[in-house]
Symmetry: C2
Subunit: 228 residues, 2 copies
Amino acid sequence: MSTRKPETAPCTSAPATSNLSDMAGSVIRPSPLAVSVLCMLHAEPMHPYRLQQLIKAWGKDQVVNVGNRANLYKTIRRLLDAGLIAVLQTERDQLYPERTVYQLTDAGRRQAVRWLEDMLAIPRNEYPEFPAALSFAMLLGPPGVRAMLDRRAGLVREQVARLAAGLAEYGATLPRVTLLEDEYKLAVASAELGWLDGLLDDLKTGELTWTEESVAAVAADPDAQPPG
Amino acid sequence: MSTRKPETAPCTSAPATSNLSDMAGSVIRPSPLAVSVLCMLHAEPMHPYRLQQLIKAWGKDQVVNVGNRANLYKTIRRLLDAGLIAVLQTERDQLYPERTVYQLTDAGRRQAVRWLEDMLAIPRNEYPEFPAALSFAMLLGPPGVRAMLDRRAGLVREQVARLAAGLAEYGATLPRVTLLEDEYKLAVASAELGWLDGLLDDLKTGELTWTEESVAAVAADPDAQPPG
DNA sequence: TGGAGACTAGTTTCCTAACGACTAGCTTAC
DNA sequence: GTAAGCTAGTCGTTAGGAAACTAGTCTCCA
C-alpha cells in the first residue's frame, strides 16, 4: 500500500476557518445537489419545482440527479436550516398549489463558491460500481466476462455517439463553458470504450484468460498487495 | 442519454422470475459492498472483520469502501436476512471478542453472479460530483476555474503515476485478471488528465473564456437544451 | 360531458450509504 | 506501567435513492 494513507480526499472545506457568518450554524456537507441548488439560485430566486424543471430543461439532470423531488425538498430544507438560502416569498398563484420562492443569502453565495472550488480542485473517490464489479469479474469465467463486457461496450458506444452528436449540435450555438460536463463525459466514456475494446480483443484471442484454480492459487499467496 | 427513459438502469435483475429459492424473501438491492461480501465468501467462509482485512490487504479497498465497519456489518445483516449468506459458526478464540463466521448459501451464490453480470454489462449513471461541479464552473470566472483545474490536474497526474507504477510492479507477478480495476482506473484517469490539460491550455491561451453576462444572456434564451 | 392522461407542487415512507464515535479486552513498545 | 494499537463489533446521525401518494388543473378526444 505504501502511499495513500488518507483513504479519501479532504473535502469539508476547513471547518476551522471563518466563524463569522454562521448565522444558523449547523455545518452542512456538500453534495452535488446542494451546490446545484445554490448555483441555480445564484442566477435568480425561484421555487423548488421550477428549479427542477430548469435543471431538466438545461439537460443538467444528466449530471445532478434531480429526479427524486423528495431529495430536492430535503436538500432545500437543509440549506434553509443552515442559513444558506432564505424564503423570499410564498406565492399562491390562482388555485395552484402554494409554492415557496427561495433566494440565496450572502453566506450561501460564499458557500457555493467554496464548494465549487473544492469539487473542481480535489478528485474524490466515489466508489462507482463498475470497478468494484471488475475486481470480482474473474468468478464469471472468461466467456462470462466477455459476454457481459461485450454488452457493456455496445451501450457505452451508444453513449459516446450520443454525447458526440450532442456536442456537435449544441457546440455551434452554446458557449463552450456551458458544455464542459459533456466534453468531460465524452472524454471519459471514450476512454472506457477504448479500454473495453482492447480487453475484449484480448479475451477473444485468448491472450487474457484464467481458471478458478490459477486465481485461487495466487489468492492464497501472501505476496498479494495490488497498487493504489 | 435520450434513450434511458427510466432515469436509472434496471438493475434488480427481474423480480418476476424465479420465485423458487426465496427462502427468506425480502428483495435486496445490489451494492458494491454487498457483491463484494458475496464474492469474498465465495472463496471461503469467514467473519466480517477478516473480510475487511482481506479486502484491504488485496488493495480492493480502493474500490469497495470497506472503511466504515458499521456499513459492513449492516450489509452483512441484510444479506443474512435475505438468506444469501448464513451463519456457519460463532467461534470464541481464547478471550478475543466473539466472532461470527458466515458462508454463502446457494441463493447467495446465484445472486452474486446475477449482480456481477448486471454491474458489468449495464453502465449506470451514478452522478459523481466532478461533472456536476463542472456544469456550474462558469460562475468562478475563467481565472478561478483555471486555478482549480490546475490543482486537480496535478492531483490526477499523481494518481495516474501511482496507478501506472502499481500496474508495472504487480503486473509481473499477479495474473492480469486480478488487476482489471486498476487498468480501468488508469485508462479513465489518463483520459481525464488529457482532457484537463487540453482545457487548461485553452484557458491559458484565452481560446476558452467567458463573462457572466455572456452566459446569462444565453441562459435567458429559450433554445437551450444541451445534449445527453 | 366526461374520462384518460399529463402537468404542477409538494409530502410520505422505506431502504440504504457515509461518517464518526464508542466499548472493551488484549498485545506491543517505550 | 502506561500509552498506542489491534481485534471485533455496536450506536447514532445525517443524507441520498426510489417509489408511491395527495390533490387540484389542464388538455385532448371521442
